[in-house]
């Protein structure tokens, strides 16, 4: 039986609006379980409630009802020592250097100053900012700010890393580097919860997903089973023209294997996403 790092039960959140207090229902009784060691993708269109769910998980916002457990406990400042968080469009103190910002984060998480300094250097090296560590954040590009964000979220070696739109605004190289960093985090045994709009990113990275739509979970589970990946296999062929493909297809049929059209295996996530959200 899998161990769950995050367990959300019947979570409801209203945002008050106007003097009559008519609320906007941001989360409508969602249930969610994030298995230990997974890369869990939280998907959904704008306003679906992804960031609200993340903020409730971190204790930055309060739910109206429902239960939200992280490591089996209600979130508290002490519990946040085990969590790293990269906010959506992160803003950091522009007058600090990247190194000072990451060291500050490490110190706030309880590390001694000397340990925090060495951990900050290491974290910045890992995200590829070793050379720019002593430059002021105000002079960083958006991609560099995002990298500092990842460094400050992971500098204290947390068990759970929450990334809100980690590749938002990054160029393809930056996005690929971010994806590598996320895979590395999983390789280190950490659980990653990430929200994203970028389907290809989620498809290539995540082991599990939940799709939020209008404050409800439209679908959730293991990505392979949701996309029926296990049933199909992709065979990549180089230099096969129509005639050869026909022969290969016939051979496959003779082997008792049904050859489908060439292309990606399973249902593309983007197509699946549109199907469940609409």
């Amino acid at each position: 039986m899998p161990q769950y790092i995050i367990e959300i039960k019947e979570l409801r959140k209203y945002y008050g609006s106007g003097i009559r207090g008519l609320g906007i229902l941001a989360l409508d009784g969602i249930d969610l379980q994030v298995p230990e060691g997974s890369i869990f993708g939280l998907l959904g269109p704008n306003g679906a409630g992804k960031s609200t769910a993340i903020k409730i998980l971190l204790g930055l916002s309060r739910q109206n009802s429902g239960l939200c457990l992280v490591f089996g406990k209600k979130v508290s400042p002490q519990l946040r020592k085990r969590i790293g968080y990269l906010p959506e469009a992160p803003y950091f103190y522009k007058f600090l250097t990247g190194f000072e910002m990451v060291r500050l984060s490490a110190e706030l998480c309880g590390m001694a100053r000397r340990d925090a300094a060495s951990a900050a250097r290491r974290a910045l090296e890992l995200v590829g900012l070793g050379d720019a560590a002593d430059r002021r954040i105000g002079l960083y590009s958006k991609g560099m700010v995002q990298r500092v964000g990842l460094a400050q979220a992971t500098v204290h070696n947390p068990d759970l890393v929450i990334l809100d739109e980690p590749a938002s605004g990054l160029d393809p190289i930056g996005a690929a580097d971010m994806a590598d960093s996320i895979r590395r985090l999983r390789g280190e045994g950490k659980t990653v919860l990430m929200s994203s709009h970028i389907m290809s990113e989620v498809e290539s990275l995540c082991t599990d997903v939940a799709i939020l739509s209008q404050g409800k979970i439209a679908a959730s589970g293991n990505l392979d089973s949701l996309l029926e990946r296990g049933k199909r296999t992709i065979l990549e062929l180089d230099g096969a023209d129509g005639d050869k493909i026909k022969k290969i297809s016939d051979y496959a049929e003779s082997m008792g294997v049904s050859a489908k059209a060439a292309g990606k295996g399973g249902i593309p996530l983007e197509k699946y996403f549109r199907k469940v959200v609409r």
Binding site: L60, F92, L104, E107
Partner: protein, 266 residues
Amino acid sequence: MRNALLIASNTFRDAMRQKLLLLIVFIAAILAGLSKYMLRFDLGHEKLKFVFDFGSGAMTFFGALIAVTATCQLIHSELDNRTIITLLSKPVNFVQLAFGKLLGVCGALAVFAIIVTAVTCLMLAITEFEIIERAGGKIPEGLLNPSWSGIACWALIQWFKLATVASVACAICAASSSLMFSVITSFMVLAATMARSANIWFGSDENLATQLTGYILPNFEIFAKSELFAFAGVNAMTFAATIAYSCVYIAACCGLASWLFSKREF
């Protein structure tokens, strides 16, 4: 406590970069430095008392200006720039946040108080030296003798007074969502406090309104007593009572700010 100090040192660093704050410190120092040259406008006060009152005025007026604007600016920049989300996603609670921000502002106020006090002391020393020199090296009869330790204690109490004003602004910022609202409300509180002091100064009887403001808003009359220290020396009882009053008031405002922060959505 460690996290509060980390937030405070960061806030102090941010404060020292605020151009408006540095400009106010500069103007206050210049004004305190000009006190000796304003003696011609003196209407019969003892010269050294006049110089000290000038420095005291600069400390009160510009100090209050810095206490309100710096506190509101530093807290609202944290809220508006969403750096507060990065802070609160760490093991930081609301008490540490409010206390850290306030402590950082108090650091900036300490720099201001030290500069104004140093300039005031310098002006007092120069004026005293000139008076004695003009009297042929003898101390003229009736010349007030500045108590340097008394002035140091007065400066410390003034710093506590400014910290008290900053703590009120901090509590207002914790409840408000706009910088403008926080600044205006803080100045209104300050005006109400000063109106009460002026009411007492002009000998009016205390009514229910002034009594209430005296209990709820900071009572500047308590801090004003320390001005006597400059020439009469330190009254230990008054000194301790004033600091105790200030600490209790700051702690109450800090607690209120923490509670209000905890009720916010980030």
